[in-house]
């Protein structure tokens, strides 16, 4: 007596095909869609105040360190307090309706709740000052902030991306006085000089994870 239909003879073939196609599909899908390049890059949350880096850093040419002070000495890139904004806006555009939230914060003493854009995992101890001291410019990791109306994450900030530079930092180095320059290009002379710098970032676990 036959308990199974004859067509079931194709089962091994179909199963093998399914495993091959499905396996490739799942692998490819995870490879592409789960990569930080896909999940992280381009993150541009809306901020409580429509602050334009393009206007301030680009058109007006304010240096990054005017607001993000201490960046060369501190692990954290400081998010400027309301006071830093009011340094200008107490006199410039002081009645603009776009700045209502800023003035509320000024009068109430409650900080503006900026939304964090660049976030690495909690077990990563990233230090801004070390990277700037080594001669890595802002633009290398943050992209052309001076052209961004709304700040978005330009690079994936995943571990393989960090390691790429830790293994061979020279292409990303620049003179220390050009750190905040968004448009700096090395001259031929500078390029040879920077290429000969003996430097590498830590590649052992506790370099970044403590």
């Amino acid at each position: 007596m036959q308990i199974f239909p004859r067509s079931l003879n194709y089962l091994p073939l179909i199963a093998a095909l399914g495993v091959a196609v499905g396996g490739a599909g799942v692998t490819g899908g995870i490879w592409y869609y789960f990569s930080p390049k896909n999940t992280q890059t381009g993150y541009a949350p809306e901020q409580p105040i429509h602050y334009s880096h393009k206007l301030h850093a680009g058109d007006l040419g304010i240096d990054c360190r005017y607001c993000h002070a201490n960046i060369e000495r501190s692990q954290e890139a400081m998010i400027p307090p309301t006071q830093a904004c009011m340094g200008c806006h107490a006199v410039v555009k002081k009645d603009s309706p776009k700045l209502a939230a800023l003035r509320d914060s000024w009068s109430s003493g409650k900080p503006v709740e900026w939304v964090r854009v660049h976030r690495v995992a909690d077990y990563v101890y990233f230090d801004h000052s070390v990277h700037l001291a080594a001669g890595v410019g802002c633009v290398t990791c943050h992209g052309r902030i001076d052209q961004m109306e709304v700040v978005r994450q330009d690079q994936p900030l995943n571990m393989a991306w960090c390691l790429e530079c830790h293994r061979n930092p020279n292409p990303n180095l620049r003179p220390k006085d050009q750190i905040t320059n968004m448009t700096w290009k090395p001259s031929a002379e500078e390029a040879t000089q920077l290429a000969s710098v003996k430097l590498h970032g830590p590649q052992y676990c506790s370099g970044c994870h403590r």
Binding site: P36, P156, A160
Partner: protein, 475 residues
């Protein structure tokens, strides 16, 4: 007369009593999966499910709250979790030894025991795998232990024995599972052919993979079984050796010894046989399989336990000898502390259970007494748990720095994770007993008197073709 026949002149007896026929074997084994379960089965299953629930709750709590829910802390960073892991892996050794090594050595008595032992192996390895999995704490990051290309550019450290462990245990599990399943195919076909209703026919039919018992099927089967046996034989030695490397390659006094691999393998076989014995004694009683799992089988297993138990005892004493002979003050202190320190009770429980209790089996009267062997088999498993506890905790709790000495105190979650794993094991085992033939029917039939082809004149009255033909007749 075939090579497998008992040699009457030196007092060998047939493996199974004369009245056991092929039909009797099929009947008494298949019946268990076909009839309603006895009350005893429901009781075991119910209690096991209860403890499976305990396991679920404990593991859930642990994953949610973190490894701090266990009593592990500096200096005893490993405690019950790794104790349980090594204990279960050890228990999981009997299966391959019985099915592969004894197969290659043509020990026909394995036929009544191997199915059982292999199932136990698989369930024990499942329980064992649980512990390293939950011990990593962030179990969602478990894939870091595998060589999968990832966005962190991170790769496992192939110099670490912990990684070898991942491969050793998962290979062992895969091969054991394949071996078990391949061995089951002819028996699934028997169950399919005996099935009365369509659903049962279909399920066992699917599992039997179209087995019809033709000569070609048997030739392929026996070839595959031989290859799998040859593949798994080295695993009997390698898996527990690699587990012992977790300890032996460290620089901890009490762990850093070359005796560990053989010592661990002997202990693993020892505890595996003890667990098979415990389960077998219960099942042959409950399901009336005394004619298939005979006293002769039990006695042979007890002899193996006597041998491996004595090997383990030798290893214990050799560790002490080396601690003295090496002249290493730290090594010496660890062993003095083991026997006389705050964990003296664990050490002496281990020695009593593992070294002294199997010595009872020197006496023929004791090794053929069911109550004695039942008690000893349980004692051995208690002792083997304590062996791992002693190795892990007494070595760690007083290390090089007296300022960091401490004691290990288990928490409720520790206890839940351990007793719960017994629940998982017995749940799986009850389900196995209920749905899968617990004795390799066709292999027992092949070991019946007269089942083997006979080329000489003696015993020709029983001469029958190879056991393949028997299965066909059966079907």
């Amino acid at each position: 007369m075939s090579a497998d026949s008992p040699i009457v002149e030196i007092g060998e007896t047939p493996l199974v009593p004369a009245h056991v026929s092929a039909a009797f074997v099929s009947d008494s084994v298949s019946r268990v999966t076909e009839q309603a379960s006895p009350v005893g089965w429901w009781m075991v299953f119910g209690v096991a499910l209860l403890f499976l629930g305990v396991l679920g709750l404990s593991v859930g709590y642990l994953v949610w709250n973190g490894i701090g829910s266990w009593g592990n802390n500096s200096p005893t960073a490993w405690a019950w979790d790794i104790t349980n892991f090594v204990w279960w892996i050890g228990i999981g050794h009997a299966g391959t030894l019985i099915s592969a090594v004894l197969f290659l050595f043509r020990q026909k008595w394995r036929t009544s025991v191997n199915r059982f032992a292999e199932a136990m192996t698989i369930f024990a390895v499942i329980c064992a795998l649980l512990y390293p999995t939950i011990h990593v704490g962030r179990i969602w990051a478990l894939y870091w232990a595998l060589p999968i290309p990832n966005q962190m550019a991170m790769w496992p450290n192939f110099k670490s024995p912990l990684l070898w462990d991942v491969f050793a245990v998962s290979t062992y599990f895969t091969v054991s599972l394949l071996f078990w399943f391949v061995g089951l195919i002819p028996d699934f076909a028997t169950l399919r052919d005996r099935a009365k209703n369509v659903a049962r026919k279909k399920v066992y039919g699917a599992l039997a993979l179209g087995w019809r018992g033709s000569n070609r099927h048997w030739r392929h089967y026996e070839r595959a079984y031989l290859i799998l046996a040859a593949l798994s034989t080295p695993l009997v030695l390698s898996v527990h050796s690699v587990v012992s490397f977790d300890f032996a390659t460290s620089v901890m006094p009490g762990w850093h010894t070359t005796i560990f691999p053989p010592y661990f393998v002997a202990g693993a076989v020892f505890s595996g046989f003890a667990m098979v014995m415990t389960l077998m004694l219960i099942c042959r009683q409950v399901y009336g399989l005394k004619d298939i799992m005979t006293m002769k089988h039990l006695e042979l297993m007890n002899k193996i336990m006597l041998v491996t138990g004595s090997l383990v005892g030798y290893a214990y004493s050799m560790e002490f000898f080396m601690a003295w002979y090496s002249g290493n003050a730290y090594e010496r202190y660890v062993f003095i502390n083991r026997a006389t320190g705050p964990y003296w009770w664990a050490y002496w429980t281990m020695v009593t259970c593992n070294v002294i209790s199997p010595q009872l089996f020197w006496s023929k009267r004791l090794r053929t007494s069911i109550p004695v062997m039942f008690a000893v088999s349980i004692t051995i498993n208690i002792g083997m748990w304590f062996e791992r506890f002693v190795i892990i905790v007494t070595s760690l709790h007083r290390d090089y720095l007296p300022s960091s000495w401490g004691m290990f105190h288990p928490t409720l979650i520790d206890i839940g994770c351990y007793t719960g794993s017994l629940g998982l094991f017995f749940t799986l085992f009850s389900l196995f007993i209920r749905w899968i033939p617990m004795v390799a029917m066709f292999e027992v039939k092949a070991a019946l008197p007269g089942a083997q082809p006979s080329h000489h004149h003696a015993h020709t009255e029983h001469a029958e073709p190879a056991h393949g033909a028997l299965a066909v007749k059966e079907a």
